[in-house]
């Protein structure tokens, strides 16, 4: 789960990381009131789950309440990479002397988290990594011991950061504590600002929480915003499917992540493009398959459907029953090509034999047929 900047800062603050005062506004009037309250220069920042807000015009300085009203009016409702801005963070501006980068990223190569620190702050760290990798100091954290202050101080020195060493190290340790304490998979402060008066402050932050660990962070559940997700993805989650909306026109349903991924590849190979990834999971019953077909049929982008099942724990006849129910209820209203193999395939074929459903012996043949039909 991705957190908004203001949520990430709230979380960091609860671990003792200094952040600039800020509040959320959903209307220009609210923005004005907050700016008036701070009676200082403020930054109006779009809260959307995409990078590059600044470049898109989603971050603006406001000199007073009236200016904050105007800037918030310009940003609210703005479309940034397909997402509509529904709220802005109105934060007290900080007097920047230095801008640094400090981030924790789950790094499978070191089987832990890598702490990355750089003097090149306030910019896209991936760009720095690509153009000037030497500007980033890296440190693999022991997942059991965590990040200790003496290690953080050494990294700050190695990276050449200037400023109060103890405060900088405390911020890094605070970031680690927030990351480990909330099961984040990514936690970054960018920029980590040294102010003109020597304070160390997290001027922007980004945190992603591990969905698998949400069961032990029920407090963070309040941060979830289903409106930010694709409506079909929200519905799929309720059914327990692993579903990803894609930008093609062939709906793909299968069992097992690897098999579904391979099905997407095969659709591309024969000249089509998948509209979604949908894994019904292991041991799916007819009801689940029926719901999967129903969901995919709801997507207006879908011009044809490929169902690719290799029965292991999942029984092919259960899949057939689900598809037949969708067909008989008139829900299945798009061309379908199906391939079933493995456990209970004979029973499945028996159920499907008199039905107007096209069955193919291989996923390649099924994909070819549905891509051709969808093009018509």
């Amino acid at each position: 789960m991705k957190l908004h900047e203001y949520q990430a800062k709230e979380l960091l603050a609860s671990y003792g990381v200094p952040v600039p005062p800020g509040k959320i506004a959903r209307t220009p009037e609210e923005a004005k009131a907050i700016a008036n309250e701070y009676a200082s220069l403020t930054v109006i920042k779009a809260q959307v789950h995409v990078g590059g807000r600044g470049k898109a015009g989603g971050v603006k300085l406001a000199k007073d309440g009236n200016d904050a009203f105007e800037k918030a009016q310009a940003i609210l409702g703005m479309d940034i990479k397909g997402l509509t801005v529904k709220k802005v963070l109105v934060a007290k501006a900080v007097d920047i002397a230095k801008e640094y980068y400090c981030g924790l990223i789950h790094d499978r190569n070191v089987q832990s988290f890598t702490l990355m620190v750089s003097k090149e702050g306030g910019v896209d760290i991936e760009e720095v990594a690509a153009t000037n990798p030497a500007a980033i100091t890296r440190f693999a954290i022991d997942p059991i011991k965590g990040l200790r202050a003496f290690e953080a101080r050494q990294i700050a020195l190695d990276a050449g950061l200037e400023g109060n060493l103890n405060k900088i190290a405390a911020m890094m340790v605070g970031l680690w504590n927030a990351c480990a304490g909330s099961d984040a998979t990514l936690a970054e402060i960018n920029p980590l600002v040294i102010t003109t008066t020597g304070e160390v402050i997290a001027a922007d932050a980004k945190i992603d929480i591990d969905d698998n660990a949400m069961y032990r962070h029920t407090d963070l559940e309040a941060f979830r915003e289903t409106e930010a997700e694709h409506p079909l993805e929200v519905e799929a989650k309720a059914f327990g499917f692993s579903y990803v909306k894609l930008d093609g026109h062939i709906g793909v349903i299968g069992n097992g992540a690897g098999l579904v991924m391979t099905s997407l590849d095969v659709v591309s190979r024969v000249g089509g493009k998948a509209a979604n990834f949908l894994d019904i999971g292991g041991g799916a019953k007819a009801e689940i398959v029926y719901n999967a077909v129903k969901l995919v049929c709801k997507d207006p982008d879908v011009k044809g459907i490929l169902i690719n099942i290799f029965g292991g724990i999942t029984r092919a006849d259960e899949v057939a029953k689900g598809v037949i129910r969708a067909l008989e209820e008139g829900i299945l209203n798009k061309p379908l090509a199906m391939r079933v193999a493995g456990t209970a395939v004979a029973e499945a074929n028996e159920l499907l034999k008199d039905k107007p459903i096209n069955i193919y012996p291989t996923m390649m043949e099924a994909a070819t047929a549905v891509v051709k039909e969808a093009a018509q």
Binding site: H106, G254, F310, G311, G312, I313, T362
Partner: protein, 296 residues
């Protein structure tokens, strides 16, 4: 005829009194796997009757190990939040081979397990989020459907469960069997990966070739390619799933995620080409390339 497990492997089932544990324990017994004990905290002293066999249940893995010192392996059927603990319990009780099938373990849990296991070099963990492993005709230590596997001389290592079943079934249809098939799991952090298993197949006198099924995400395939180019004496056939998946989207498996420029299919295909490992473009090609490698 195998690596890691064979007809003599003595197995403990952790979580044997649960629905999944009991179901799969029975399926494994049916296949011929020697299940000698089970464990469930608080259910010690009970027995379970499976296929006419009486299986004793212990409160802990160490109790089970004390009663059955010849235990070689454990397979874990507990919910994801308890899986890390169950894995460490088995490791500290001295079980040399642990299979963890749980899907949905928190990253932090697995990170700590992997770190702690480094201090226990005699313990090998397979998974999580995997179907387990099978030496066809001898031992099934997992949840895979038995019928798709045929005994033979091809080793297989795969990040995907269903593709493992599919590839094995296609090989079997072409009359090619497998020595051992290992599903290593689809999570970003796993106990055993390609480079841990390739050396074992390389030394196994009963394996003639290895099929490795990789996918987008991480750099395990790249590391494997490098190892193969330097050390592998036997032919390897690779398959990479998710070639058309977009960046930044998790494709079902937690580990199937391209982050920035890391984990792309292009990088994996390039590494394989550099190591002279033939890559199958389709599942059908796996069979064609395997036949070619075996001189069939």
């Amino acid at each position: 005829m195998s690596i890691l497990i064979n007809k003599n492997t003595k197995v403990l089932v952790q979580g044997i009194t649960g629905r999944e544990g009991a179901y799969h324990a029975e399926k494994m017994l049916e296949y011929g796997t020697q299940i000698v004990a089970g464990s469930t905290p608080g259910k010690g002293g009970q027995t379970l009757s499976l296929l006419g066999k009486t299986i004793p249940v212990y409160n802990s893995v160490s109790e089970a190990k004390a009663a059955h010192p010849d235990l070689d392996a454990s397979i874990i059927f507990v919910p994801p939040p308890a899986a890390a603990d169950a894995t460490l319990e088995a490791a500290h009780a001295g079980i040399p081979l642990i299979v963890n099938i749980a899907e949905g373990m928190p990253v932090f849990d697995m990170m700590k397990v992997v770190k702690e296991l480094k201090s226990l070099p005699n313990v090998r963990l397979i998974g999580g989020n995997c179907p387990g492993l099978i030496t066809p005709g001898e031992c099934k230590l997992g949840i895979m459907p038995a019928s798709t596997f045929k005994a033979g001389r091809v080793g297989m290592i795969s990040r995907s469960g269903t593709l493992t079943y599919e590839a094995s079934a296609m090989l079997a249809a072409a009359d090619i069997g497998c020595s051992t098939v290992v599903g290593i799991g689809g999570d970003p952090m796993i106990g055993t990966t390609f480079i841990d298993l390739l050396p074992m197949f390389n030394e196994d006198p009963n394996t003639d070739a290895v099929v490795m099924i990789g996918e987008i995400g991480g750099a395990d395939e790249e590391q494997a390619a490098e190892w193969i180019s330097k050390n592998m004496k036997k032919p390897v056939i690779a398959f990479i799933s998710g070639r058309t998946a977009p960046k930044g989207k998790r494709m079902g498996h937690a580990g199937a995620l391209i982050m920035g420029n890391v984990g792309t299919a292009e990088s994996k295909l390039e590494a394989m080409a550099k190591a002279n490992v033939p890559v199958a473009d389709t599942m059908e090609d796996i069979i064609i390339l395997t036949k070619k490698a075996l001189g069939l």
